[in-house]
């Protein structure tokens, strides 16, 4: 009986500790939510240019965060490429950003994604870049990859989702009604 009480006490302490640390982590690191605006960051692009908030203002866009070693991100880029003309026709811009330092493991870089996508990668509505540590911590503090924000023309986040290869229908609906 004493053993049972000891085990129960340890289990209670562990579960309390885990829930406290989870709650703390969740409290300390909340990404932007639906209905809010994204921080007004200037993004570093792969071609050396910078994408300022003013260039995105007034346009619906998808801010998509990827790691270059991530297979679903590569697949997602291929899916986006196959629909890039549709997105452009609805004036939706794609901002595909590699998470800072590829989340700890340097992959081949987004240039590999661009090579796989081919000529569509240079579409004027598709921006490719890399987030800084600060931007990554603010936009994706939980370290999830292949997640994206759908932002309408007023700059409001209308959805947060992941894996465009699996959720293309949601992007298509957004694009059709974004303007």
């Amino acid at each position: 009986m004493t053993h049972l009480k000891t085990i129960a006490l340890i289990a209670a302490c562990l579960s309390t500790g885990i829930s406290v640390t989870s709650a703390h982590a969740a409290f300390a690191a909340q990404p932007p939510a639906v209905g809010q605006s994204l921080p007004a960051f200037t993004y570093n692009l792969l071609d050396g240019r910078q994408l300022s908030p003013s260039e995105l203002r007034g346009h619906p866009y998808i801010l998509w965060m990827v790691a270059s070693w991530c297979p679903s991100c590569q697949t997602g880029s291929n899916v986006v490429a196959s629909h890039i003309d549709f997105l452009r026709s609805h004036e939706v811009r794609i901002v595909e950003m590699q998470l800072a330092r590829d989340l700890g493991t340097q992959g081949p870089g987004l240039q590999k994604f661009q090579e796989a996508v081919g000529a569509k990668a240079v579409s004027p509505s598709w921006y490719w870049g890399e987030l800084t540590d600060r931007q990554t911590a603010a936009l994706d503090p939980k370290g999830d990859m292949d997640v994206y924000y759908l932002v309408n023309a007023r700059g409001t986040i209308v959805a947060v989702n992941g894996n465009p290869a699996a959720t293309w229908d949601a992007i298509e609906r957004f694009a059709a009604t974004a303007k």
Partner: protein, 172 residues
């Protein structure tokens, strides 16, 4: 070794327990194969989803069938064996099945970062560590699948050895 496996198949599928062996092989094998047909390409879409079927390749299909029917054969041989079931064979097979799940479930999902956060890791730690763990499953996905198939193949060999050894000991 091949002869031993062949003998075990003959004993399993021609003996008195043949109907059960066929039922286990095709029932369990088909169910597991169907699961792995979705699971193996799921890293391409970031999680278990029927959409993953769009990214199914001939190699992945063959791997799924090898895992599903291979493990079912192990169980069929074990179930029909008059000897005690080979727990080692089943453990090797289950290990193989589990290893095949790892790339699709851990490489591109939120499981690893969520686990790190639940353990109390800070944001910089999560952002600097999660990729180190997840990229292993992404970069070595083929190796994981190959090891899984090897595990299931080993389980068949062990089950066959168990079955044939028992019959050899029983014969006059």
């Amino acid at each position: 070794m091949i002869r031993q496996v062949g003998s075990a198949f003959a004993l399993t599928f021609r003996g008195p327990g043949a109907p059960l062996a066929y039922a286990v092989t095709f029932g369990l094998g088909t169910a597991l194969t169907a699961f792995y047909l979705v699971m193996l390409p799921s890293s391409a879409v970031g999680g278990f989803s029927l959409i993953a079927l769009r990214y199914l390749t001939p190699a992945l299909s063959l791997s799924a069938a090898s895992l599903g029917y291979g493990f079912a054969l192990t169980i069929a041989i074990n179930v029909g064996s008059p000897a005690q079931r080979s727990r080692t064979a089943e453990a090797a097979g289950i290990g193989g099945l589990l290893a095949a799940i790892l790339p699709g479930s851990l490489c591109c999902t939120s499981i690893v970062p969520s686990a790190l956060a639940a353990l109390g890791a800070s944001v910089p730690t999560v952002l600097g560590t999660t990729g180190k763990i997840q990229s292993i499953f992404a970069l070595y996905e083929s190796a994981f699948i190959a090891a899984s198939i090897a595990g299931v193949a080993l389980s068949i060999v062990l089950a066959a050895h168990n079955r044939v050894s028992h019959c050899t000991l029983q014969s006059p």
